[in-house]
Subunit: 509 residues, 2 copies
Amino acid sequence: MSRPRTTRDAASWTAFGGDLHLDLGERRAAGSGLRAALEDALRAAVQDGRLAPGTRLPSSRALGEDLGIARNTVVEAYGQLTAEGWLSSRQGSGTTVAGRAAPRPAGRAAGVRAGGRPTGRHDLLAGRPDLSLFPRSAWLASARRALAVAPHEAFDYGSPLGRIELRRALADYLARVRGVRTDPDRLLVCAGFGQGLGLLAAALRERGAGRVAVEAYGLPPQREALRAAGLGLAPLPLDCSGARTELLAELSGAAAGEREGRRRAARPGAERPAAERLGAVLLTPAHQFPTGAALAADRRAAAVQWAREHDGYVIEDDYDGEFRYDRQPLGAMQALDPDRVVYGGTAAKSLAPGLRLAWLALPDDLVEPVARLKARADTMSPVIEQLTFAELITSGRYDRHVRRCRLHYRRRRDRLVAALAERAPRVRVTGIAAGLHAVLELPPGSRPEAESVERARAAGLVLTGLGWYLAGGTPAPDAAPALVVGYATPPEHAFPAALDALCELLRTV
Amino acid sequence: MSRPRTTRDAASWTAFGGDLHLDLGERRAAGSGLRAALEDALRAAVQDGRLAPGTRLPSSRALGEDLGIARNTVVEAYGQLTAEGWLSSRQGSGTTVAGRAAPRPAGRAAGVRAGGRPTGRHDLLAGRPDLSLFPRSAWLASARRALAVAPHEAFDYGSPLGRIELRRALADYLARVRGVRTDPDRLLVCAGFGQGLGLLAAALRERGAGRVAVEAYGLPPQREALRAAGLGLAPLPLDCSGARTELLAELSGAAAGEREGRRRAARPGAERPAAERLGAVLLTPAHQFPTGAALAADRRAAAVQWAREHDGYVIEDDYDGEFRYDRQPLGAMQALDPDRVVYGGTAAKSLAPGLRLAWLALPDDLVEPVARLKARADTMSPVIEQLTFAELITSGRYDRHVRRCRLHYRRRRDRLVAALAERAPRVRVTGIAAGLHAVLELPPGSRPEAESVERARAAGLVLTGLGWYLAGGTPAPDAAPALVVGYATPPEHAFPAALDALCELLRTV
C-alpha cells in the first residue's frame, strides 16, 4: 500500500462501491429515491464499520460516474450525511468518514467567549444546540424563494433596524409563540443577543445609567459587554423562583444613599464619582441561565414595578423560550409592559449560533438611540440571511423545525435523566423543565466543584462547574458543588458515548 | 372599474395573459425554453407599455395554471425580471410592474450614512453599484454547494477572524488580483469597511494614537468612525497625484512640537492634553474617493516611509480596486510593506452593499487587538454568507461576475462621457480611469456648487457636490464647483432617463 491512496483506488472504497452499486440497481428501476438509497447505503456502511473513520470518499463527480447517476444526487447525499454527522467535508480536502473522536478543526476555539473554549472528546458545554440539526435543505429552499422575490433595493445599504420583511415576520411570530407585544417598527435585528446587549448598554449609559442589576449566576460575556460600556454590575440573588427582583428597589436606594453620603462628604469642587444610577435589570425569565428556574409571577411583577417607579428597564433574555417540555411555555414578560421591558431573542439555539441572527423588541424611546449606535458601528445585518429567515418563518418551515428540535431535545433530556437515575442516583438533576442544559448537583460529601470539573476534563468531557457563571463574590457556603451539562450539544451519533462518559465520571464523585 | 382589481380579473392582465399564452405555445412544442419565452413575453409587454407600471401580476401559482406550466418556472421568470428591474416584488404584496419613477420603499433611507440619504427619481449618488447586477443565480448555486459540504462545526460560534474557508479564498484572490501579500491568519472578515475602520481606530487608540491623517476629501461616515473612537483628524491636501503624503512627517512633527510647547507651559500636576500622536493615515490609493486620482508611486513610498519612521500605519481603503478601465490595475500599496499597511477591501461595490462583507489584511501586531475588539462587540459575520462567498470565489464565479460588471460600468462611463461631450461640452469630467463615479467640474462662471446641487435635486437627480466630502476647513478659493456622479447606481433600464436629466441640467450651469 505504498502508492498514494487516490479517491478511486482506495481498497476500502472499491469494495464498498461495488456493494453500493448493487443496492442502487434495484431502486433505479423504480425511477426514484436514488438519493435516499445512496444515503441509506452509505449510512449503513459507516455504521457497520465497512467504511472506517477517516476513509476518504470519491469525489461526487467520480462516484456519480461510477454509479451512473447525476453528480448532484451524490452532492446532496453527501450533504445530508454530513448534516447528520456521518461524514465530514471540508473545502479542499474532500469528503471523509467522520470519526467519533474526530478532533475539532483548528480555529474554532479562537475566543468568541471570554477565555476561549476548552476542547475534548465529549462536548457538553451548555449554550449550544445540536449543530447537526441545522435544516440545510429548508434553509436553501427559503433562500431560493427569497432571492426570487427580493426587490433590487434589498441589496443596498439597509436600515439599521434590519429588513422590514424579517421584522414583520418576527413581530407576528413572537406575538403568536411568545406573546410578545410589539410591531415591526420597534424590532431591531442584530448579530447576536450579545451585540444587542452591548448597544442597549451604550444607550443606557448615554441616558445616565451607571449600573445594571444582573442575576447572581449568568453568562460572563454578557457581564463583560455591560462593563465594556462603562456600567457597573449589581448582582441579584437567585432562588428556586428565579431572581429576587423584590430587592431591586433596595439596590436603587442603596446606591442613592451611597451617592448622597459621598456628596455630603466631598469637598466642594472635588471630582464627583461616576453616576451609579441603577438603569436596568438583565433577566432570563423563561429559564434562568444556568440554574434553570422559571421566574415566578410575583417576581415578574416586582421587576416591572421597579422599572416604572425608577425610570428603569427590564432586559429580558429569552434565549431558549421555544424549548419548554413539560407544560405550556411561559409567555414573555415583555407583554407586562412593552414600554419598560426590552425583549431579546435569538436564532442561536433554535437554528445555529453561526447565523448571527438575534433581535430586540424595544420600547419606543429606545428605538432611535439603539438604531443610531448600531448604524455608527456599521454592523448592519446581511440582507440575504435576513430575507431567508423571514421566508423560513412565513412559510411555516421554522415552526416545523422548532417542533422537531423540541422533540429531539426532550428525548435527549429524558435519556440523561434516566441514565443518571440508574447509574448515578445520588446526583440531583435540576433546571430541566426547559432548555438545552441541566444542572447536576453533586451529593453531600462530594469533592469540591473545581476538582470534579478537572476530573471531567481529564476524562475528555467538556463542561463547566456552576461556579464559572457566578457574578462576582463567592457562592453561599452551603452551595452544593454542581456541574452544568449541555445535553443538546453533541450530534446524535456522539451523544451515547458522551452520556456514558458522564455517567462513568459521576459514579464516583 | 369600481370593483376591486384582483390578480385574475384585472383587464390589462387578462388581455396580456392571452397574448402570452399564444407566444408560449410555439416554444412548448420544442419542449424547452419555456422560462426564457415567458421572460421575453413579459419583458416585451412592459417595454411597449401593454403592462403599465404598477400593474399587479397574477400569483405564480395562478399564472402557472393559466399557462399550463410549472409554478417554479413562473417564480424563476418573475425573479429574473425583478433582478433586471422590470418587475418589483415584495413579500405580502405580490409582483407588480416596476415604475420608472417608482418611489423607494419606506425604511431604506433610515440613516446608514450620517444624515440619511435623499431620494429622488434619478439616483446618481456615488458609492453604490448597479444593484440589478447582483448575481442571484450564481449566489444561490454557491450557497447550495457550500451548504452541501460545510462541516457541522461551521454552524457554531465562529472565530472573530471569520471562517477559514473564506480567509483562504480571499488570501489567494487578493494576491492574484490585487497583489496583496497576506495569509489567512492575518485576514479578518468584517461587516463592512466602516466596521473594520472603527475596530482599527479603537485598536490604534489603545496603543496611544491621538490623531489619524485623512484625505482632504473623503467619506464623512469614515471620519465619523474615527472620531467616535476618540481620534482627532489631520486632513492631507490632495492634488492630481493623490494625497500629499510627503507632508505626513511634518504633521507628526507639528503635533509633537505643540505637545512639547504645551508641556513646557503647563504647571506641574495640571491636566495633560489628550495624546495627539499621529498613529495612521487613511488613504484610497487606487482611486481617490471622490476626486478619482491614483496615488503616485513616490507618494506611496512616502507614506510607507513615514509609517516606518514614526511607528505608524497606512490604512489602504481599496473600495473599488477591481474596476479599472483604461490600463492594468494598480496593485495594492499594501505589498510595499505588509507590516505597516492595513489593506481593506469590500464586496459592497463588486457584489452588493447589503451583503455586509468586507475584509482587512492586517499587520501581525494588529491581528490580536482587532480580533479581540470584534469578539467583544459580538459582531461575528454570519457563516452561510461567508461560506457562500468563499465558494463563489474558488469556483471562478466571482471572477466572471467582476469581469461582467467591469464591462458594464465601462460602457456606462463611456455613455456618460459621450453624452456630456455632446450636450454639455464645457463640463470637465475627471476621475474616470476607474471606479463607479465621476467628478464633473463645472465651467468658470458657473453658479455656486450648492446652488447647482439644489437645482439637480429639484430636477429629481440625487447626487452631491464635491464639497459634501470635504474634511473640514473650506475649499481652496480657486476650487471649481463640481458635482459627484455615481453612474453605476441606477439599474440599466433607468440609466438613459437619468443621463438625460443630468445632461439637461448641465446644459445651463
